[in-house]
């Protein structure tokens, strides 16, 4: 009977889970794990800050649908992961975070680099483990990956004390799944499905509201079938971007604070929302009591806690989007036939008219370079086929508005937590997940600086992501709020002259380009895409350009501010 160390067992178990990439950063108590990794064929990407590792694992998971893995040492290594873990938690992304811990004999003594990371991460993980006996490693790893990737996905943290990593154990320990308290519901209740279909057929003005749950459950095909069969238009959340092709006529794009006018107006008028994998976040609903005041809600979600949390569900269906949408289509076909409901056709015409009359628009009167124009150009040049990753703020909203997504897992953005600094490391993870695809991080000059150290990681590991910085020298979204609601008192939002991004790129061995004129936009994007290296393009955009439409926080979503003609 062969003996191996706990660390070797850990790596062996990760292999068994199909892990082929880990993003991490070593430290004292994870040396045994890194030593075991040295002999493994698992690829390890050495980041420059643990937050980068967590976001990269997150980005990798979002584009591939597989579980991302990050690794950090105890204490500060572990705490540096926290924003990344919280980000994955808010957006329901399957990530397994492995942290080192001080030896079990000194846990609780404030030992060097000790942090109670299972305690700290309890509110931001789906589950976490502190392994106290190396023989528990196989079962723990198996459970962790199962929990992270099933049901409503989310991050799971495994804390491994250094003596557990070093302990010698039997190499053939078997692992079973022993999760009495965890049994996600995948199949929706068929009686509820039937009530839903009947309600849909009775309704005069239905709309589908599709979110990130459809991405998680890989249910885009089922959504497309259902939407086409019923002839009902589709509104998405930010997280749902791409689950229904935004190039389709019946796609109404994103709703909410910076959603399209026609999506928001449709919400206000609809009499039935068929909500699938959404959580009615405040950025979507605006003033909750005024939201969709004429509508009943059919709420489909795999997480029962989401149903009834923010809005009352008239017909709740707990289940996996893929399975429930397929059941809905089947029932609808039986009851309504392929000809559909007459009233819905008239309503769709009205919705499409509203879409036509209220397009997204920006003022092109002024001299400056328009960020919306840049995104449109990126869209044209990539033919809508790139993986777009965003930072957070104005850059994120312009990207969501002007880059039409046609497939799920191609628009990657920090939705729930709104993490500045997410985009670039997440783009690295996305590029590793899809080495053959163009991966573009659309950034602001504020956000990019929050994890810009990862330029080293991307260049050295030949992860050629393209960063398009919409540089206005402001923390633009906050400045926009200050302009609208705080009497233009731009308190600490001006960051002009932070750094010369071209030189910064060059210092890291990347390529830097600077664009100040509209005529340079297209050549610069083309050059960036043709360059086989990490490229930063610094676009000097009009400094006080705003994101429109905008629903002021706490207002009903049909009260939208818009740009001047």
């Amino acid at each position: 009977m062969g003996k191996i160390t706990g660390a070797q067992m850990l790596i062996k178990c990760l292999k068994k889970e199909g892990v082929d990439i880990i993003f991490g950063f070593p430290g004292g108590v994870v040396i045994p794990i890194y030593d075991a990794l040295y002999d493994s064929d698992i690829r390890h990407i050495l980041v420059r800050h643990e937050q980068g590792a967590a976001h990269a694992a997150d980005g990798y998971a979002r584009v591939t649908g597989k579980t991302g893995v990050c690794l950090a040492t105890s204490g500060p290594g572990a705490t540096n992961l926290i924003t990344g873990i919280a980000n994955a938690y808010m957006d329901s992304v399957p990530v397994v975070a492995i942290t080192g811990q001080v030896s079990t004999s000194v846990i609780g003594t404030d030992a060097f680099q000790e942090a109670d990371i299972t305690g700290i991460t309890a509110p931001i993980t789906k589950h976490n483990y502190l392994i106290k006996d190396a023989r528990d490693i196989p079962e723990t790893v198996k459970e962790a990956f199962y929990i992270a990737s099933t049901g409503r996905p989310g991050p799971v943290l495994i804390d491994v004390p250094v003596d557990v990593s070093k302990a010698l154990i039997d190499e053939n320990i078997k692992a079973g799944l022993n999760l009495e308290g965890y049994k996600p519901t995948y199949k929706g209740n068929l009686r509820q499905v039937l009530s839903a279909v009947k309600r849909i057929m009775e309704s005069k003005k239905p709309v589908i509201f599709a979110g990130g749950g459809i991405v998680s459950s890989n249910a885009s095909a089922e959504l497309f079938e259902f939407a086409k069969l019923t002839g009902i238009a589709v509104i998405t959340t930010l997280m749902g971007k791409g689950v229904f092709p935004e190039t389709e006529e019946s796609s109404l794009g994103m709703a909410g604070m910076h959603g399209t006018k026609y999506a928001n107006l449709t919400f206000t008028e609809t009499d039935l929302i068929i909500a699938v994998g959404v959580r009615f976040d405040d950025r979507v609903t605006g003033k909750l009591s005024e939201f969709a005041r004429n509508a009943d809600i059919i709420h489909i979600d795999i997480d029962p806690a989401e149903i009834g949390k923010n809005v009352k569900a008239d017909i709740p269906i707990v289940g996996d989007a893929k399975s429930v949408l397929a059941d809905l289509s089947e029932k609808y076909r039986q009851l309504a036939g392929v000809s559909g409901v007459e009233a819905h056709k008239k309503w769709l015409e009205k919705v499409l008219k509203c879409k036509k009359e209220n397009p997204l628009r920006y003022s092109s009167s002024s001299e400056g370079l328009k960020p919306q124009y840049i995104i449109e150009k990126i869209y044209d040049i990539t033919k809508g086929d790139a993986v777009i990753v965003t930072e957070v703020g104005q850059n994120q909203m312009w990207s969501a508005q002007y880059y039409k997504s046609t497939k799920p897992r191609t628009f990657i953005s920090s939705g729930g937590l709104g993490t500045m600094g997410f985009g670039f490391p997440a783009a690295m993870g996305a590029k590793i997940g899809h080495p053959d695809r163009t991966v573009i991080d659309i950034a602001g000059d504020g956000s990019i600086q929050m994890n810009v150290q990862e330029l080293a990681t991307a260049v050295i590991n030949k992860i050629p992501v393209k960063v398009m910085i919409l540089n206005n020298g402001y923390l633009g979204m906050v400045r926009q709020w200050q302009e609208f609601f705080w009497n233009k008192r731009y308190s600490h939002t001006c960051i002009k002259g932070s750094v010369d991004f071209v030189k910064l790129a060059e210092a890291y061995g990347a390529v830097g380009l600077k664009v100040t004129e509209e005529s340079e936009v297209e050549p610069a994007i083309k050059k960036a895409l043709a360059t086989d290296n990490v490229v930063l393009v610094d676009f000097s955009i009009e400094r006080e350009e705003n994101v429109y439409p905008m629903v002021p926080a706490g207002h009903p979503i049909d009260e939208m501010l818009d740009c001047e003609e």
Binding site: T118, P123, K126
Partner: protein, 162 residues
Amino acid sequence: MSANHIISVLVENKAGVLAKISGLFSRRGFNIESLAVGPTDDEKISRITLVVDAETHSIEQVVKQLYKLINVLKIQELEPANIVERELVLIKVSTDNNTRAEILEIAAIFRASVVDVAKKSLVIEMTGTSRKIRGFEELLRPYGILELVRTGKVAINRGSKK
């Protein structure tokens, strides 16, 4: 409407579970009025009985969130009309030769038992509903309560009447 809710939770008997559960309540702004934890007849499973003051709507949300904890096996909100509930209290009350007999009489009425006798104090143990304990406490208060320890509430559903 705000009211007391008794929630009985079966959990896996593992390290950190109680912290996860109590943390979940505090994060969502609930004050736990009383908490009792102990093993069940199955040593791998513990039962946590919580009394929480909250609105019915928000308690539903917290129960759903509790269900999401991997170590939580079963949750029951107990209906006050259909349960037997008990708490245990230990009261150290000040006595002297004049008051001892009166206190013992009160204890006897409440079926409480004296578990420690000293020159100037008695320790009395009593089990009962919260209301009974409150009543007992009020009667002893004039004599001088030196110390009082109460367990959290435990509760069990009554058997079927059919």
